[in-house]
Symmetry: C2
Subunit: 238 residues, 2 copies
DNA sequence: CGACTGATTGATGCCTATCAAGAAACGTGG
DNA sequence: CCACGTTTCTTGATAGGCATCAATCAGTCG
């Protein structure tokens, strides 16, 4: 059987999102204005970083001086445990912010690695937190941080099937929130990366995707997954 | 066999910790000073809340206007999913702060329920975030939030045995950090609460605790668990 | 003391990890 | 453009871990 008439990988190209849909938008906008007004040496924001697939935006232990917003592509954050194991803690799509731990620590606490060719916006943080207030960035900053600490159910709960469906739903939802296509997902990360995130195995992820495909809940097309009707996959998960 | 010569539950009494060991200390201290200086109507901090076992400090949907620091006892945070399931996201010991989502949302996003008779300190947040700066609370606030967003491996990864051992280690570690006894743990929460947190079943938690007990890695004494040598339980977990 | 709740222990079956192999996609070089 | 090696994904067979059902035991409270 060949349900996988896989199209060429190159057909799918990540697109940048509009600044209006970015979590950093408010902060970024203000920071640019201020930098301009004060005639600063380096722009406080707006500097882009291109990251090739597989390379790091920052690594655990790097000096944490900036926040980053994904503008294009996909960034995975990886936690390195003491025993050397790499645990993926999330995939970040355009509009999402990473590196928030910079507020409390001098160094980043995880690796940020591009899953495909990506572009990020860098927002350098002032060394003195007081400057945040001077610059009027405070409310936006607290929104960003407060939203990040809101308790949410980890993707590593429930059966493997529940994890996969929740992951697909969550991923689509987050893309949709940024004005991107949340139905037809370009899965730029590998199956083993997904398995790592969900704390399961490649084989299991593959099997469940095919299973959902057969049930017409999704449509797997190689690295592209179309969400048809995930709701019908739910009942079995209960 | 009876390895459980369970002592009376009442023997173990939760003790309050010193303010010096509390995560809210810096904020709280400043807030009290300021309230006093300005001769405020209600104290901006220092008000205690007694919570009986099983009752809520706040509920999902309540107006989120304050942070809370656990001063005595144990508070569990529970996330209510759409399908009505209750997922415990953490147990909070004296010195830890809950309700941080108040920074970004008008209402709390989880339930905070006392697992035993507990006491919390309430720190009302100013309605205007700008006041945080005026009051000099900003650096402490950013520390608190930044530390909370640092990526960490969830307790729901790995085998059931790994989860239980990591939970015990983590719990002991957090108590120790507050100057409390991190070796002899009073487990005030039920086994089923632990199972819920670790996304497993009561029977499994019980079996693994007994297993670790037989291996002399811990010493289970009813609701009291003594950590002997968890390191010897690790190798099997790899 | 007796009902009730929480914890422990046992027996059984399902889910998923593991091992193994085949199929498809990708990159490279001819 | 095709051959070839490498990587990624898929599919199958098997074993083991954990959920489930069920029963016993201990502790609590009326």
């Amino acid at each position: 059987m060949s349900i996988r008439a896989r199209p060429k990988r190159a057909d799918a190209r990540p697109r940048p999102i509009a600044c209006r849909d970015c979590d950093l938008n408010e902060l970024c906008r203000l920071a640019v204005l201020i930098a301009h007004r004060e005639g600063r040496e380096r722009p406080a924001a707006g500097s882009f970083r291109m990251i090739d697939s597989g390379t790091a935006l920052f690594r655990s232990g790097d000096a944490a001086t900036s926040l980053f917003a994904v503008r294009q592509g996909t960034i995975k954050t990886v936690h390195l445990s003491e025993d050397g194991h790499e645990r993926i803690t999330g995939f970040h799509v355009p509009g999402e912010v990473i590196g928030l731990e910079a507020f409390a620590f001098a160094t980043y606490r995880c690796e940020a690695i591009a899953v495909e060719h990506s572009v990020c916006c860098e927002l350098p943080l002032p060394r003195q937190p007081e400057r945040l207030h001077v610059q009027g960035l405070l409310p936006a900053m607290l929104d960003l941080l407060g939203a990040a600490v809101a308790p949410k159910v980890p993707l590593t709960r429930g059966s493997a099937r529940e994890r996969v469906t929740r992951f697909l739903q969550d991923h689509g939802e987050r893309l949709r929130r940024r004005g991107l296509n949340g139905q037809r997902l370009r899965m730029s990360m590998s199956r083993s990366d997904i398995a790592n995130l969900l704390d399961t195995r490649v084989e299991t992820v593959s099997r469940i995707l095919q299973q959902l495909h057969r049930e017409r809940a999704i449509h797997v097309h190689g690295s592209t997954i179309e969400l048809i009707d995930l709701a019908r996959a739910e009942p079995a998960g209960l």
